[in-house]
């Protein structure tokens, strides 16, 4: 007897959201292990996992079949939807699949307007449903199987409705013909399976249709069945027990991949049904590779006609711009340009550059600030076209990191646009290329530790309080790491006695299973696909939550692997802020020079950088950057490039930071792991700082071609499977051996590459960002009022809360003025003060409770004439009493007060005024109650509560006297202390961070009126002091002063809530109230 053979044609991965429990890769691995002839992926109305599936199958030499299980309307009106399995037989069939899935998901959507009109009636994410009419329109190249027990034929059969089932089967046969339709039989040892198989056999005999056996796989191995049960319960938002009672869970655990032997046993009486699987597998030959036809032909912006020769056009554009970018032409420029153009021509990418050029051109014409980021800045062509702002030659950038001749993958151009105007650019792409050819790439949102524990814990009936405790106590973000943590928690104490079905262990096991499991698809932050052929023949589309937005079912990796070109249109808050600052400076009559052309060598800017005086600036403002700046001591633009790149997990994990700093300071000699690396790492003193260096190291040390080196970089960055990494590693070691590098050294070099590659910036990217950093520093230093105005108006952005930005503005001579109903506009605006300096007037929108309508009313009434007094304001602005109360408390009505600024008196007055908008002004009777003056602290607290910042003073100033009495220092004093000194200080917790690279150390920034002080909290101290450091806003800390160069921090030993420390002499109840108020307003 010959060995049985089998191909599985019905299989769900976890891209059948909340139904499948295994990754495409796990399914492929198991199918290969079982020796299956082929495997089809048939996720519900989705090809989201198709590229990953196809790649994994190729790597495992398994024949992959692309398919879907589509959700089909009932044939008779009113019936419930049913399933139908569709497999792509040909390439055309693959396009059909995409169209059908798109139809199932998008047919319900309202028609989209072609221009920027609002979309009416957008349903957001909807349950997919395909109509029979649509199905009938698209049958080419598809083999249809009748579906699972919920299938179009089996469902009525299972209910004993033979005639109804017959009608459906006949309809399907009319549509596909007898060669392309199979009746699907499944046997999963469920009660009733025997009977259903018998009935389907009878049906097949009656209609003379072939049978095919499938197994409706939902997980790779039996262990996956629990996770699937849990997913089904999560999907229904009920507990497992309840899901079971509602009959939502299969009673069996048999929906795993089965071997040919096992299937032969199940269908011992039906050899033809098994033979069908092989015949179908043989016929299905569609693949995923769209590298050949990806881009639309570029249309001449002048004539709107398709360009006959895109390359010639690009060539001309580049040469036209040479003068502007390189006033003095050098041979190196011409050579580099010629080389790049040659590579671009061979790779047929001229059209791609033109499309990007056109988008950038549009943005510039509209005054939308933009700049290319990432590896594109390695290209002189991108520089000439104005896509990027960094001269690749001046910075020794490597074109091969962006695009190389032997590169197998597509390049990637990412452009940052002013965040507040990015949508205009996206809409332009839709208009220019048409909605049929344009879509956003999706982002596969996967389960994180917390969401996994929450969802699974609910299914397992964990009490809410326990789940809160578990998920807030977690240190890790990935479900895998969290599972390990849970196991440690469970085993703490009673390792020996813990039963395997202990609830925590059960939870841990399931949480681990959710690692990488998608929760839903969302819109990628900016990835835009633009294709020549209609998109719905390449990848299915589905509606996103955002009105009018349709996303492709592939994420950026899948698009790239399928050979598609995407353009990342990203929103960058800082570009918007720079635009706004420039505009404000113009209004203030102090216009800034063209920031694209300012010299990058201003010593004052570097002095600020060396001091770490960078709050609000792009990239270099964070706590970690501020600690690094006084150690790195930047002196020229290249140093800012390093600065941007070095505070990254790559260099940190690669162990590059300390050697770099020591070598830079001349404390240790520059050395290389091997002499071949000297030319590559020379610029960065022998350490790996930039991604380009990964490529160059692979070329220099292991003889990789540039393209191969880039594949290595990608493999490292994406953390490909261990087997793939091992192959890369062998190839590297082999190459290194041929170069005469001993095995130990080669291994060490590879280890550094591994540690680095995923989390480092390309130098081109760092340089692009460094430029924006410099521009923002320039504005901060030379146009501070305009700069802070822009920052405050475009919140949230950057690293710091607005209170810190306001404090920084104050320290740089820009006063923050409270809101004023007679002066404030909607947002923050610069205002000249009496002393001829610029201050920022807080906008009305900053006051909690002031909605758009209220602001419009105030401004309109004020335009007629300024408000005379509170009564006049109430009468003419017509605001609710609550809103007026907020305005008074925030200080916006201080001008009406007598004595000035007496807010309590104003509140008293408000009580006497009829605030209903009256046609006749009601004469308000003057009265004056004898009220105690508002405590300065209380006033500040009110402001904090309503504005999120305190215009006049920093909170800590109110406590300074008390602190002085107790010999608790200001942070500025701590910064003067010697290394190792014991210090006691206090402040407002501005930032709290626990970087993954820091081994559990927590970094905090403490603010007082003088600035920020960095706190370092070791894990054991954090454990002890967590309630204080996490809970209190104002804290008292004790610790040791640490100094590294000019950088100062405090190593925390003790901490306490500040108000508790002060409680002895202040009113404890008042301080508790103050504390509560702060908590509410701050979080």
């Amino acid at each position: 007897m010959t060995e049985p053979e089998y191909a599985e044609l019905h299989c769900h991965s976890y891209f059948s959201l909340l139904d499948g429990a295994s990754s495409p890769e796990a399914l492929v691995e198991q199918a290969a292990a079982l020796g299956l002839r082929a495997l089809a992926l048939t996720d519900h109305d989705s090809l989201a996992g198709a590229v990953r599936f196809a790649l994994a199958a190729r790597a495992a030499s398994l024949h992959a079949i692309l398919g879907t299980e589509i959700t089909l309307a009932s044939l008779d009106a009113g019936g419930s939807p049913c399933h139908l399995t569709l497999l792509a037989e040909t390439q055309e069939g693959y396009a059909t699949l995409c169209r059908l899935i798109t139809a199932a998901r998008c047919d319900v959507l309202p028609p989209l307007p072609e221009d920027e009109e609002p979309v009416i009636g957008w349903p957001g994410k909807v349950s997919p449903l395909l109509s029979w009419e649509r199905l009938a329109q698209h049958t080419t190249g598809i083999i249809a199987l009748s579906g699972c027990a919920r299938g179009s034929v089996a469902a009525p059969l299972a209910r004993g409705e033979f005639d109804a089932a017959l009608a459906v089967a006949e309809r399907l046969r009319e549509m596909w013909g007898p060669d392309h339709l199979y009746l699907e039989v499944q046997h999963q040892n469920r009660p009733g399976d025997d009977l259903l198989v018998r009935r389907l056999r009878e049906m097949a005999r009656r209609l003379d249709l072939p049978l095919v056996a499938t197994h409706n796989v939902h997980y790779a191995t039996r262990e996956g069945s629990r996770l699937r049960d849990a997913l089904l319960a999560i999907d229904a938002s009920v507990t497992l027990g309840e899901a079971c009672r509602q009959g939502l869970l299969p009673a069996t655990s048999t929906a795993s991949l089965q071997s040919a032997q096992e299937m032969a046993r199940r269908f011992a009486g039906l050899p033809p049904a098994l033979a069908s699987t092989l015949a179908i597998a043989e016929r299905c030959q569609a693949s995923i590779d769209f590298a050949q036809h990806r881009l639309p032909q570029f249309r001449d912006p002048e004539t709107d006609q398709p360009l006959a020769n895109e390359f010639a056009y690009l060539y001309q554009l580049c040469h036209d711009n040479l003068d502007r970018r390189y006033p003095t032409l050098r041979p190196a420029v011409i050579n580099q340009l010629a080389h790049e153009l040659d590579v671009i021509e061979k790779a047929h990418l001229a059209g791609y550059f033109l499309i990007v050029w056109d988008i950038v051109r549009f943005a510039r014409a509209r005054g939308i600030r933009c700049q290319g980021r990432g590896s594109a800045a390695n290209s002189i062509v991108a520089y000439l076209l104005g896509i990027t702002s960094i001269d690749p030659l001046a910075h020794g950038l490597l074109f091969e990191r962006f695009l190389s001749e032997d590169r197998h993958t597509t390049p990637d151009i990412d452009i940052d646009f002013a965040a507040d105007r990015r949508e205009e650019v996206i809409q332009y792409c839709y208009r220019r290329y048409g909605r049929a050819h344009t879509a956003m790439v999706c982002n596969v949102v996967t389960y994180r530790a917390r969401s996994a524990i929450r969802d699974l814990g609910k299914a397992l009936e964990f009490p809410e309080a326990v789940l809160d405790r578990l998920s807030t106590g977690l240190e890790s973000h990935s479900p895998r790491a969290a599972a390990a943590e849970l196991e440690v928690m469970a085993r703490a104490g009673d390792e020996a006695t813990l039963p395997a079905d202990h609830p925590l262990l059960l939870l841990a096991g399931l949480v681990r299973g959710l690692d990488g499991c998608p929760r839903h698809l969302s819109i990628h932050s900016g990835g835009m696909l633009i294709t020549g052929p209609p998109l719905d023949t390449i990848v299915p589309l589905e509606p996103a939550t955002m009105p009018g937005r349709v996303v492709a079912q592939w994420d950026k990796d899948s698009c790239e692997d399928a050979g598609l070109v995407k353009i990342d249109l990203l929103g960058l808050g800082m570009l918007g802020a720079i635009s706004e600052a420039v505009a404000q400076a113009e209004i203030m009559g102090e216009p800034a020079p063209d920031l694209e052309r300012i010299p990058l060598d201003d010593p004052e800017i570097y002095a600020l950088l060396r001091r770490g005086d960078t709050i609000g600036a792009f990239q270099v403002e964070s706590r970690a950057q501020q600690q690094m700046l006084p150690r790195l001591l930047p002196e020229r633009f290249e140093d800012i490039v390093v600065q941007v790149a070095i505070v990254r997990p790559g260099p940190i994990q690669g162990g590059a930071v300390h050697p770099y700093l020591r070598r830079r300071a001349g404390l240790e000699p520059v050395s290389y792991l091997h002499p071949t690396l000297a030319p590559v790492l020379n610029d960065t003193l022998g350490v790996l700082l930039f991604q380009e260096q990964v490529l160059r190291v692979a070329v220099a040390a292991a003889g990789f071609s540039p393209g191969e080196a880039d594949l290595l970089r990608r493999a490292l960055a994406r953390k490909n499977s261990e087997a793939a990494m091992e192959a890369m590693r062998r190839r590297f070691l082999e190459g290194a051996r041929e170069k005469g590098i001993d095995a130990g050294t080669a291994s060490a070099i590879f280890g550094q590459l591994e540690g680095f590659a995923g989390y480092g910036f390309p130098k081109s990217h760092a340089a692009s960002f460094a430029l924006i950093a410099y521009q923002s520093m320039w504005l901060k230093h030379y146009r501070p009022a305009a700069f802070y105005t822009a920052l405050l108006n475009l919140q949230p952005m950057g690293f710091y809360p607005i209170e810190v930005l306001a404090g920084d503005a104050r320290r740089h001579g820009v006063e923050i003025l409270p809101p004023d109903v007679n002066r404030s506009r909607e947002k923050y605006t610069p205002e000249r003060t009496g002393r001829g300096r610029w201050a920022l007037r807080t906008g009305l929108a900053s006051v909690a409770g002031m909605g758009d309508a209220a602001i419009v009313r105030v401004l309109a009434a004020r335009a007629e004439s300024p408000f005379n007094d509170l009564a006049d304001f109430c009468a003419r602005a017509g605001l609710d009493r609550d809103v007026v109360t907020s305005l008074i408390r925030a200080g916006a009505c201080d001008g009406f007060a007598d004595p000035p600024g007496d807010r309590r008196a104003l509140l008293w007055r408000l009580g006497e005024i009829d605030v209903r908008p009256a046609e006749l002004p009601i004469p308000a009777t003057e009265s004056h109650a004898d009220l105690p003056d508002l405590e300065p602290l209380e006033r500040t607290l009110w402001e904090y509560e309503l504005l999120g910042l305190t215009p006049g003073v920093q909170l800590m100033q109110h406590y300074r006297k008390e602190l002085g009495k107790r010999r608790i220092c200001g942070t500025w004093e701590v910064k003067q202390m010697a290394r190792g000194a014991r210090a006691r200080t206090a402040g407002l917790v501005a930032i709290r961070q626990r970087p993954q690279t820091a081994h559990g150390i927590v970094f905090m920034s403490l603010e007082d009126e003088s600035g920020l002080l960095d706190l370092v909290v070791k894990p054991e101290v954090w454990e002890r002091l967590r309630p204080v450091l996490k809970g209190a806003l104002l804290v008292y800390v004790e610790g040791e002063v640490q100094r590294t160069g000019l950088a100062v921090s405090l190593l925390v030993r003790e901490a306490a809530p500040l108000l508790q420390v002060l409680e002895g002499e202040t009113d404890p109840q008042a301080s508790r109230q103050a504390q509560n108020k702060l908590q509410r307003s701050f979080f």
């Binding site: 040892n189 469920r190 009660p191 009733g192 399976d193 025997d194 009977l195 069945s225 629990r226 049960d229 849990a230 497992l240 027990g241 079971c244 009672r245 509602q246 009959g247 869970l249 009673a251 069996t252 655990s253 048999t254 046993r265 299914a459 397992l460 009936e461 079905d501 059960l506």
Partner: protein, 86 residues
């Protein structure tokens, strides 16, 4: 649909090579399986405090013409008699 997993009576079962029931002893009498009507599996309730239920069920007719439901309990590795239809 509520599922109730009642415990059956333990029986001594002889099976064939593929763990299919052939004959068993119950109440001191020998019963011979003549025909297996249906087989199905249950693997459920792994989350509940009562514990997991993992059984291979068999509906069979004996040579005496009695219809029975038997199951093999994977966790206890034993056969039990769940129901008799007289």
């Amino acid at each position: 649909m509520t599922r109730i997993w009642s415990e059956g009576e333990p029986i001594r079962m002889e099976t064939d090579g593929e763990n299919r029931p052939v004959r068993f002893l119950w109440c001191g009498r020998r019963h011979q399986i003549q025909q297996i009507v249906q087989r199905w599996q249950v693997d459920s309730d792994w989350w509940s405090s009562e514990g997991r239920v993992w059984r291979d069920y068999v509906a069979a007719i004996t040579t005496d013409g009695v219809l029975l439901v038997l199951y093999y309990d994977h966790l206890g590795a034993e056969w039990r008699l769940a129901k008799i239809y007289d």
